[in-house]
C-alpha cells in the first residue's frame, strides 16, 4: 500500500499551481487528501505529479454574504476550508442550515479536520453528501485555469460516477451554497451501516412555502444512483394522498452491493422521503413563524 512514484509540487500562488497543472497531463490536485491518498496508496490512481494546493493563500474562507433575501446571498466556501470549519461556522448554518445538517454525516471528526468541502464536491462521489446538497440547493462552483475563470452550476458539475466536469487543469477555488430563503425549509436524514460511514441511503429535502402551504418541494438522494440526483416532488408533496417517494423512485436506480440489496435501498427511500419532507415543511413553517415574530 505504497503509492507509485510521483512528483510533488507545493506552489505558493494560484498562478503557479495552474501553470503546473496545465503543463502536465497527468497532474492532479491534492487538497485534504482524504479521498486521493487512499487511492494513491492502493495504486488505484497513479498521477505523474501532485499539485498540493494547501500553501495557496486566500482559499480557506467560509464567508456569508447578504441576509438571505437576495439572489446572490449565501455561503461562499474556499477550496481550503475543511469540512470541520464549515460545520463549525454559526453564520454558515444560519444562512443555509442544510450545510451543517449534512456535514455532521460526512465521515468522522478526524477526516473532517482535513477533508475539504470543495474537494468533496469535485470528487463527485454519488455516495457523498455535499455534492447532492449543492445540487439540491442549486449552488455552483468557481473554477480557475490558465485559460481564465468560469462558474459551473451544480446541475452541470457531475458527469458520472466519481467524475466532475472540471477539465484536468482546472482548480475549483470556491463553492457557493445559496442562502435559505424566507419561507423555505430543509431537512436531512441518512441511514449508514456504522456511524460516519458513507450512507446506504441519504435523503435531503428542500421545500418552499407561502402562507404555510408548499409551493415547491424537491428531494435529493445519496447512494441510490451513479450521480447525485434531485427530484422535484412538488405535486406529490402538495397532494395529501400523494406519494413523493414513489415519484422519486421512478428516477432513481438503487443498486445491490455488499451492504444492501436494491430492494432495501428502495425501501429506505420510501421510509426516509416522507420523513424529510415532513421535517422540511415543519422547518419552513417554523422559520416563517419566527420571521413574523421578529
Amino acid at each position: 500500500m505504497k503509492p507509485a512514484p510521483f512528483a510533488y509540487l507545493r506552489p505558493a500562488t494560484l498562478e503557479d499551481a495552474l501553470a503546473a497543472l496545465a503543463g502536465q497531463q497527468g497532474a492532479k490536485v491534492l487538497a485534504g487528501g482524504q479521498s486521493l491518498v487512499p487511492l494513491l496508496s492502493m495504486r488505484l490512481a497513479a498521477p505523474s505529479t501532485l499539485v498540493d494546493i494547501n500553501a495557496l493563500p486566500d482559499l480557506g474562507h467560509v464567508t456569508v454574504t447578504g441576509d438571505g433575501d437576495g439572489a446572490g446571498d449565501g455561503v461562499r466556501i474556499g477550496a481550503l476550508a475543511r469540512h470541520a470549519e464549515v460545520l463549525a461556522s454559526a453564520e454558515a448554518a444560519a444562512s443555509q442550515p442544510l450545510l451543517a445538517m449534512a456535514l455532521s454525516h460526512v465521515a468522522h471528526p478526524t477526516i473532517r479536520n482535513r477533508g475539504t468541502t470543495v474537494g468533496s464536491l469535485v470528487h463527485a462521489d454519488a455516495a457523498a453528501e455535499m455534492p447532492m446538497v449543492l445540487r439540491l440547493l442549486e449552488g455552483s462552483v468557481d473554477v480557475a485555469s490558465v485559460r481564465g475563470r468560469r462558474t459551473i452550476p451544480a446541475a452541470e458539475l457531475f458527469a458520472g460516477p466519481l467524475e466532475s466536469t472540471l477539465a484536468h487543469d482546472e482548480i475549483a477555488v470556491e463553492a457557493f451554497f445559496p442562502a435559505l430563503a424566507p419561507g423555505a425549509g430543509v431537512a436531512f436524514q441518512e441511514i449508514a451501516r456504522r456511524h460516519g460511514d458513507y450512507a446506504l441511503v441519504g435523503v435531503a429535502a428542500h421545500v418552499e412555502t407561502e402562507g404555510g402551504e408548499v409551493t415547491r418541494a424537491r428531494v435529493g438522494f445519496v447512494s441510490v444512483s451513479d450521480v447525485p440526483v434531485v427530484v422535484d416532488v412538488t405535486g406529490a408533496a402538495q397532494d395529501p394522498e400523494g406519494d413523493p417517494a414513489g415519484a422519486a423512485l421512478a428516477e432513481l436506480e438503487p443498486a445491490d452491493d455488499i451492504h444492501a440489496t436494491s430492494a432495501y435501498r428502495a425501501h429506505l427511500v420510501k421510509v426516509l422521503t416522507p420523513r424529510v419532507l415532513a421535517d422540511a415543511v415543519h422547518h419552513a413553517r417554523q422559520r416563517s413563524a419566527q420571521g413574523k415574530s421578529a
Binding site: 492502493m42 451501516r193 456504522r194 455488499i258 451492504h259 444492501a260 421510509v271
Partner: protein, 804 residues
Amino acid sequence: MTTKLFGTKVPRVEDQRFLRGQGRYVDDLLTDDPRLLHAAVLRSPHAHARIVDIDVSDVLDLDGVVAVWTWEDLTGPMAEPLPLLIPHPTLTHGRTQYALAREEVNYVGEAIAFVVAVDRYVAEDAVARIRVDYEYLEPVVGIDAARAAERTVHDDVPDNVGARMEQENGDARAAIAAAPHTLTLELDIERSACTPMEGRGTVARWDPDTSRLTVWSSTQTSTGVRGCVAAKLGLDLARVDVITPDVGGGFGVKVVHPWPEELLVPLAAKTLGRPVKYTEDRREHFISSAHERAQQHHVEVGFDDEGRVLGLNVEFWHDHGAYTPYGLIVPIITSTQLLGPYKPQNYRVVFESLYTNTVIVTPYRGAGRPQGCFVMERTMDAIAAYLGKDRTEVRSTNFIQPDEFPYEHGLIFQDGRELTYDSGDYPASLAKLKELVGWDEFEEFRAEMAAQGRRVGIGLACYVEGTGVGPYEGAHVHIETSGKVKVATGLTTQGQGHQTAFAQIVADTLGVRFEDVEVTTGDTRKMPYAVGTFASRAAVMSGSAIHLAALRAKEKALRIAAEALEASEEDLEIADGVVSVKGTDASIDLGTVAVLSNPLRYAFDEASKAATQFSVGDPGKPPVAEDDEPGLEGKDFYSPPRSTFANGMHAVIVETDPDTAEIRILKYAVVHDCGHLINPMIVEGQIHGGVAQGVGGALYERMAYDESGQLLNASFMDFLMPYVTEVPTSIDIDHLETPSPLNPLGIKGAGEAGVIPSAAVFAAAIEDAEGFPITAMPISPSELFELRLAHADDTTEATTRSTP
C-alpha cells in the same frame, strides 16, 4: 500466601507506555539502521490458477532493488511445503502451501514472489514489474460449491474433503427416533477474521561475526517461530533467537506459523548479510492472513415434554480455505464445545472439513466455539418455542448440575484428552444473569415499548470454554542482589496485561513489592521452552508456572535467610522484599539473601563484599552444596492433565426498527466464571473487548467473496469492524468464581470468553423481537428487511417440525 494483590484491580503497568505511544512494535525496530532492507510480496490475483511462467527480468533493473525470490530460487527445506502444524489421524488429506507458490495458486493473496529493496516503495514498484503467465482454473468458493464438488481445489483431494471426523456418545439416532418430540434445524455462520490493529511483521538480522540469527516477529509463539526458522534454514537451534516485542493484537491469527514471510525475511537477511523487514499492510492482511467461522450445520434433536434433550445429532461442514496448516483444531472445538453447559443423553457429531479457493481458516478468538454455541443455543430456543416454555427453563432442565463435576462427556477434546469439565455452577450463573438483565421483567418492558410503537427482543446464550490447554508453560524467577525480581515466561503478549497479572502473582507468592517485579515474555533467549499464547491459556499456564517458580525461589530464600538469621524457616515471613523473624525485629533484605546465595571470589560493589570467600561459608564444605546452585532463582513448569473449563452466559436486549430494520443494542449483560480472578479489571477488559468483537461478528463483519474468489471488502472501508459508536455504551458484568481444581491458583482462562456467545445471543434477541426464526449469522439491516419480506409472504416456520 498473603493474597494482597491477587483478586484486586491493580492498574495495568503496560498502559503507561501504550497510551503514550511508547509501545515498540516490529515495524518500529531498526528504523535507524541505514542497512535495513524492506520486503514486498507479489500475491496471486487469481483464486485458482496454474503458474505457467514467472518473468522477473525487469525487476533487478529497478534502482534500489536488491534481490528477488520465486519458488525456483528456494532450496532444501525452504523448497518444501510449509509444515502441517497439528496433524490428526482423520486429516487424511492435509495440504499446506509453499513459502512461495510452486506451479499452482489456490487463493487470491497467495505469495508468489518476494522482493527485497532499499525501501517498501521501491519493493512495491518492483512487484508491479513481475510478469506471471497464469492458466486460469475454475475456483471453488463457499461451502455449497465445496460440497457440490463439481470442481476440486486440489487435484489429489477428492470431493474437496480434507477430513471427515465422527464422535458419538451413546446412540443419538436411536434416541431421537424414540423421542416424543423432534426438531430439525439448518444453521449457517459466515466468515470473519481477527483483524488485529497491527498486522503481521517480521524483522531479521544475521550477525556474521557470531553466526547468529535474530528474528523479531509479531507472533503468538516465539518458540514455534524459532523452531520453524531453524529447521527451514538448516540452522542449529542455538544460533536462532526469536524475540516478540510489543504486539498490536493477535486474536489467533498470529499463532499460525511460520508465515511465508516469517521464513523469507530470515532467509533474505542471512543471504544478503543485511537486516530485512517485512510489514504486512491492511489489504495483505485481509487476503493473505487467516479467516475463520464459516460453517453450515444440520441439527436433529429429540426431546421430552420438559425440553430435556434425549438425543442430538449434528452434521456440519467446515470451510477451511485453501490449506490446512493448523489441522482440525477449529472444527474439533466446534464439535465438542457445542455441548456448552448441557448434557444431552446421546450425542453424535460428524463433520467434513472442506477445501475452498479462499484464505486459510485457523483459530480466531473463540476458535470454533461461537459456531458451536450458536448451534446449541438456537436448538435450545427452538425447543422452547416448540414447547411454549420459557427459554431459561429449557436450559435449566438440560444443565449439568454442580454436584456432577468432574463431568465426563465421553468425547475427545482438541488437545487429544478426555472432554471432562472440572467445575462450574450453571444454575447459579443463570440466576445471576436473569437478575442482571431483568429477564422476568422483560414482558412488561416489551409492552411498554410496544405502546410507543417500538419493537424489542431479548435473548440469552450460554457457553463453556475449554481454556488453558497444554502441553505446558514454564517460568524463571530471579531475585537480583538489588532485591528486584526478574521474571521470564516464554509465551508472548499481545496486550492482555500479562506484565501486570503475572507481577501480581509474583508479588503475592514471594512477598515482594509489585513495583520490583519485571516480567519478560516471548523472548527465546530468556525462556526457550514455551508453547504460546492462544486458547485462553496464558494466565492458567504461565500464571501457574510463575507461581510455582516463585515458590521455589521463596523456598531457597527462606533456607538462606534462616541460616543468616539463625532462626528456623517456619518462623520466617517475607513482606515487601524483607525476610523477618515473626514477632522480632531480626530481618534481612531479599537482596542481601541474593548476595549470600552466590558465593563470590570478587567483590564488585559494596553489597557483594558480604558474599566473598573470606566473609561467608563453612571453610570445611564446598561453597555451593552438592544439591544446590548459586543464585537466588526458581524455575518450574506447569503441565496440567487436561484443560480447565470456564463458562459464561450473555443476555442482550435489542430494538429492531420496524421501518428501517436497523438493530440497536439496549442492554448487554454478562455473567462470567473463570474461577479465581487474578485482576478483575483485566478480566472485565477482556470481556468488553470480546463483546465488542462479538458485536462485529454478529451484526457487521463478513468476508464478501464473489464467485471468482475475489474478496470484495478487503479494507476497513467495507469490512465493517464496529466503531466505538456501534458497541454498547455499557456492559453489565457479574462474576461467579468456581475455582478450578486443576491448578494451584484455581484459575481458568478468560481471553476468548466475551466473543463466544455473540452470534447466538443476537440471533435469539432478534428472533424474539421479530417473531420468525433467525438461522444465519451475521445479520445486517438489509438482510433483516429481506427476511421480513419473506416471512410476510410465508408465515410458516423455517424450522421443520415433526412428531413421530
